[in-house]
Each structure stands twice: as C-alpha cells, then as structure tokens.
Amino acid sequence: MEGFVAHKLAEFEQGKISRRKLIETLTLAATTAYATEGAGAAEAKGLKAALINHISYTCPNFRQAADWYSKVFNLDQIGARDRDVALPFGKKGEQPYNVAAKDVPLTHLIFRTRDLNPTPAAGEAPRPKVQAVIDHVAYTVADFDREKAKVELKSLGVENVRDGGLYSLHMTDPFGYDVQISGLANNALTDG
C-alpha cells in the first residue's frame, strides 16, 4: 500500500495526475484495502449467517398448514412430497429482499408431518434433549398497515388476531402456532 501511495504521489508531483485524481485514487485504494482486511478478519473469526434459508415446521397435517400460509402470505407451494412441501418467499429467479449476493436463495418454509423423535439409525447418536423452543415466528410483509391488516386477516378467516406492540399483529395458525406480522418498521432496533 505504501509503495502504491508513493507512486501516485510521485505522479502528482510530476504533473502526471491532477490533485483531484490523486485524492480519488488514494481514497479508493484505502477503502478497498480496508474492506479486504475487514472481510479477512471476519472470515478468520468464523461464519456469518447471510439469511434464513428455511424454517422447518412440523405439525399433524402439513397440507392444511401449507394451505393456510399460502392463503395468508400469497406463497406458492412447490416440490410437494408425501410428507412435506416447500413455500418459497417469491418466484424462481427472484432475489431475497435487499440481498445482492447471488448465492443466497429466497427463504422458504417447509411444512412437514413426521415423527420428531425417531429411533436413531444404527451407529447414530440420539438427539439431545431440546430445552429451547421457537415460540413464534414473525414475518415482514410489504406495505404493512396495522388497521388494514386486521381487516384483511379477518376477511381471510384468520383467528385470534391481536395487536403486537406499535408495529405488528399476532394471530394463530390452524395448529395454534403464534404468528406475527409487521412491516419493516419492526426490526432489531425497535423491537423490545
């Protein structure tokens, strides 16, 4: 970096580049070098979740659950199998909202009906006892207006619709699971 700066400075002194060009070039070089170092540091420390890939939701009737989420959130059902189906948050080829990286796919929900405590296969260690629970999932929807959303949810037959703070609503899905919706205003800085 120092050699590069010296070289550019020499060019400026010799009148080969203007003052403005010198400043622009050095600014770009400095910020690029910083970004590269930052990325390297992050990599050395560990991984970084780019986005939720999918949420796995298990219930007694996955088709009923999938139909409800399709209806409320306008989601297509794809790749249906005997015991599960996926609902991506958009169409094939679309990018996740505000994500530029091409190797980060749309988030999707997977609805399943299955035994959550199967007998471990031979040689496989049993799953540890789970002491945590995801007691609700909140979804960000476009153009969220709480009062209009209440009317819309009721017209869709959604049950137990109730306020969730200033920026969101809660409701209950067909299996009693707590679902929250909000706009972009509900986020890590405003929630809690």
């Binding site: 560990g46 939720i52 890939n53 999918h54 796995s56 298990t58 799953r127 007691d135 609700h136 009693g176």
Partner: protein
C-alpha cells in the same frame, strides 16, 4: 375501456373494421380486461412476503444462546437491546431494510403449547466452502453432522441448527 371501444366504433363506421373484426376485438378486450381485474383482485388478497422479521427463541439462559449465535453464526447483539433477560441478534440486511434477528429470551420452553413446532432453522452461508465451514464449526468445539453443502450442529440447548449453501438447500431444487 370506453375510449377504446369508441375508437373501434369509429373504425367500424368508417369501414376500417368489418363487423367480424369489430366483434372479435371487443370480445378480446373484454377477456383481457376481465383477466386483469381477476389478477388484481387476487393480488390484493393476503400479504406480500418480504422475509423473516424475527424468530422468538425461548430457553433457560438467553446469554448462552446469545453467545452461541454471535460466535458461531456471526450475529450481532443489537446495542441497547440486551436487558439481562433477552437480546436481539441481528443478521442479514440492515435493520429496517429487510434484516432478520433472533430474539433470544430466558423463558420457560413450554409457555405456549401448540400442535405445531418449528423443529429447526437453516441458515445460508454465502461463498460456501465446505472445508472452511466445517473447520469454523469444529474450531468452536462443535460436533458437526450432515452432508456436503448442508451441515448441522446443536446449540447449547439441544436445538438443531442447520447451516447450508444455496446449492444444497434451495426450494427450487427439491
């Protein structure tokens, strides 16, 4: 629509369109118009999904969960939002611009019984490199399971955490 039909009438009267063409055109216009209305009506039902806002994670000790997700998946505890009982763990796009967060709380795990369960969450890692990902997880002292492109570990409370590439876990490649 009215103006369009008025134009057709004028063309018909001036002989630019014969009767058959006139009728076919009006009928086609009606179909297109009706389809447009139906599409609009359908689009106004329900909501347009942007993404996961947050997941609410209840466990016996939120601090352990906070430290795990920050350390293993690079999430950031939101400044000013850790009150000793909960923390917001941010990741993805910026807050307010589509970013997600985990609300890690200390709370009874069976507080809200339902007949459904979110049994795991899978996170995408960009620029997937199998060796690097496995190495990073093992460096945290975790036992790593799974297959190429889709690995899993258990968090401090036995919750199944999946970590995957876009190639291995993609709704459109099922």
């Amino acid at each position: 629509m009215e103006r369009f039909i008025a134009g057709l009438v004028k063309d018909f009267e001036s002989g630019k369109l014969d009767r058959r063409e006139f009728c076919q055109t009006v009928a086609l216009a009606a179909i297109v118009y009706g389809a447009g209305d139906a599409a609009n009506a359908q689009a106004t039902r329900g909501f347009k999904m942007i993404g996961i806002n947050h997941i609410s994670y209840s466990c016996p000790d939120y601090a352990k969960a906070r430290d795990f997700y920050a350390s293993v998946l690079g999430m950031e505890s939101t400044p000013g939002k850790d009150n000793g009982k909960r923390a917001n763990l941010m990741f993805g796009p910026e807050p307010g611009k589509g970013g997600s967060f985990i609300v890690a709380r200390t709370a009874p795990a069976d507080a809200k019984p339902s007949r459904a369960v979110v049994d795991h969450v899978c996170y995408t890692i960009a620029d997937w490199d199998e060796q690097r990902v496995r190495g990073a997880l093992k460096a945290k002292g975790l036992e790593v399971g799974g297959r190429d492109g889709s690995l899993h570990v258990y968090d401090p409370f036995g919750y199944y955490v999946q970590i995957a590439s876009a190639e291995a876990e993609n709704a459109f490649r099922r």
